[in-house]
Amino acid sequence: MAVLSRSDVEHVAHLARLGLTDAELARLEGQLNHILDQYTILATLDTEAIAPTAQTIELENILRDDIVMPSLAVEDALANAPEREGDFIVVPAIIGYEG
């Protein structure tokens, strides 16, 4: 039972920011549908009255005192940047310039 069409797979790949080849898209269409078939078992369970579990230990939010603490040094934070200029990471322009 195919749930995902080829165009669905392409849409999800776009949402996930994955550039995939045609061969990858074709393979994923088959594999994802096969995996989604395994999920149908869940529909047989009535969970209307069940609360969701996001995590398993009974911890409430733990807040620290609002005081300034040392953080990662600028040099360390930038050391792995693919392209850098001064204390900045270089990225392509995202706003077009006119004139």
């Binding site: 949402l15 994955l18 550039g19 078992i41 609360a51 995590q55 398993t56 940047a81």
Partner: protein
């Protein structure tokens, strides 16, 4: 000097024995480290357990450890007794643990060349107790896999059969420990990634309670499931490593302020004393864990182990975890969903691989499409779909509700007074390279017996219980939250019960081949067996 007779004899000892020799002055940490470095370097071509071996740093840490032991010796026996059992002992870290200035690839091309700007919490803890970090071990990319075949840097061999996988995702650490390259390894377990490789390589591996060990500085996979834990060749060593790394760390808000019991470094040395821990304990045997597809030899070993536990006074009762069959589907919604969110950070802008193409969107597509492996892409796709508009309720929310039911199954047994559950760790022994690579669902089924424990956040330990077809079988013990020490006490008791078993003294069957420099590499073996990505 019989005890330092040969490096080969030295590396075969347990960490607690090495600790005793260090304190007695019969061996130095530098000698111990040299012996382990030599075998790890010599056998890495054949086994590929290690992505890096850092000889210089390891020997530096070993010299520091020797200085600390020497200073304590000068202060007298009380000071020596206060030293942590891991002082001067070599440890291997899965290559998703940050060491400042060192690589942390998580088995992925997208982190190739990245150097960690800080130490992970567990790295700091290991330094505090004076452990010697030998290097970084191989793993499935981003810990997604059950065979280590999904490493971008090539697979790892199982020393019991070089054509077979060591399990995964912590397969580099499990092979390194099984092959005597280190007595101790660190792994992470999101659905079975410590326990299943421990089972497939014949060693001990524990996933602690969710929240027991801080994950600060660990590359994230699925944040409501990931947990760090030890791999070792016996329960005492696993317990000592857990003791070293466990405990609250304010940099991981999910690490719990629960005291870490010192019992972890005082498990009984005597087999007879250890066996006493089982008398009167109520152990549940979940019938759903003897799944279809379980190999008869695996089931036979597990049932023999259960009879041995009964023989030592444990009361074993068959029990039901009725939602077990929903575990796989639930896990393969929750884990990919969380992974798709966590892996969104790999944008090619701030760190890691970066491919340039036309504009910002083009850069993302090229970087992520070009640098993630096939399994990681599959999981990101699954997770993105399960979280996408219109499908969230049907998949992710539904899975979270079923997760409540799965956790409830376990809670009901603890409420009935069970002390632990006993089950197989893996339905099969180690499989051949390539056997499950073509069908993702077949690979996912490798973890059918381990992933419900992650869904419920519980501790679980896998211990060796014999061989089937010449390959190791793992027995899994599952406990209530925060009961790691009890589980390890039962594991230690089982070791005591089986101390004289014929399989106990066996070495991994093909380990003796691994010294041969002309042997094929694991990648060449996988290729010859038709393994594909």
């Amino acid at each position: 000097m019989p005890l330092r007779s040969t490096p080969a004899a030295l590396i075969r000892r347990h960490a607690h024995e090495m600790a005793r020799l260090l304190r007695a002055g019969e061996v130095t940490s530098v000698e111990l480290t040299e012996a382990h470095l030599a075998v790890a370097e010599r056998q890495n071509r054949a086994l590929h357990a290690w992505l890096t071996i850092d000889r210089e740093r390891a020997l530096h840490e070993a010299r520091d450890a020797d200085a600390r032991i020497g200073a304590a010796r000068g202060e007298g026996s009380a000071a020596l007794a206060r030293l942590h059992p891991l002082l001067g002992i070599p440890v291997g870290l899965k290559d998703l643990v940050s060491i400042r200035g060192g690589q942390a690839t998580a088995g992925s091309r997208i982190l190739d060349g990245y150097l960690a700007p800080f130490d992970a919490h567990i790295t700091e803890r290991l330094r505090d107790v004076g452990a010697v970090i030998l290097g970084k071990t191989n793993m499935d990319e981003f810990a997604m896999g059950s065979s280590t075949e999904h490493s971008a840097f090539g697979p790892t061999s199982n020393p019991w059969a070089l054509d077979r996988v060591p399990g995964g995702s912590s397969g580099g650490s499990s092979t390194a420990v099984a092959a005597f390259h280190v007595p101790l390894g660190i792994g992470t377990d999101t659905g079975g990634s410590i326990r299943q490789p421990a089972a497939l390589t014949g060693i001990v591996g524990m996933k602690p309670t969710y929240g027991r060990v801080s994950r600060f500085g660990i590359v994230a996979f699925a944040s409501s499931l990931d947990q760090i834990g030890p791999l070792a060749r016996d329960a005492r060593d696993a317990a000592a490593l857990l003791h070293a790394v466990a405990g609250r760390d304010e940099r991981d808000s999910t690490s719990a302020p629960v005291p870490v019991p010192d019992e972890l470094i005082h498990l009984p040395a005597s087999d007879d004393e250890a066996v006493g821990a089982l008398a009167g304990r109520r152990l549940g045997l979940p019938r759903e864990y003897f799944v279809a597809g379980m190999e008869p030899g695996v089931e036979a070993r597990v049932r023999e182990a259960v009879r041995a536990l009964e023989g030592a006074g444990a009361i074993v009762e068959e029990v039901s975890l009725p939602h077990t069959d929903y575990g796989l589907a639930t896990y393969y919604i929750v884990a990919p969903a969380e992974a798709s969110a966590n892996l969104a950070r790999y944008d090619g802008i701030r760190y890691g691989a970066s491919s340039r193409d036309s504009d910002v969107l083009g850069n993302y597509l090229a970087t992520r499409g070009g640098s993630f492996g096939a399994e990681v892409k599959r999981r990101i796709m699954l997770g993105t779909y399960a979280l996408s508009a219109g499908y969230y309720d049907a998949y992710y929310l539904k899975a979270q509700k079923v997760r409540t039911l799965i956790k409830g199954d376990f809670d009901a047994l603890w409420a009935q007074g069970f002390d632990a559950l006993v089950a197989p760790t893996s339905p099969t022994v180690a499989f051949r390279f390539g056997a499950r690579m073509a069908d993702p669902v077949a690979m996912y089924l490798s973890d059918a017996c381990t992933l419900p424990v992650n869904m419920a956040g519980l501790p679980g330990v896998s211990i060796p219980c014999g061989l089937s077809e010449g390959l190791p079988v793992g027995l899994q013990l599952i406990g209530a939250a925060w009961h790691e020490a009890e589980l390890l006490r039962y594991a230690r008791a089982y070791e005591g019960l089986t101390a004289a078993a014929d399989w106990r003294g066996l070495e991994p069957a093909e380990l003796h081949l691994a010294d041969d420099p002309d042997l094929p590499t694991p990648a060449e073996r996988a290729l010859a067996l038709g393994g594909t990505q």
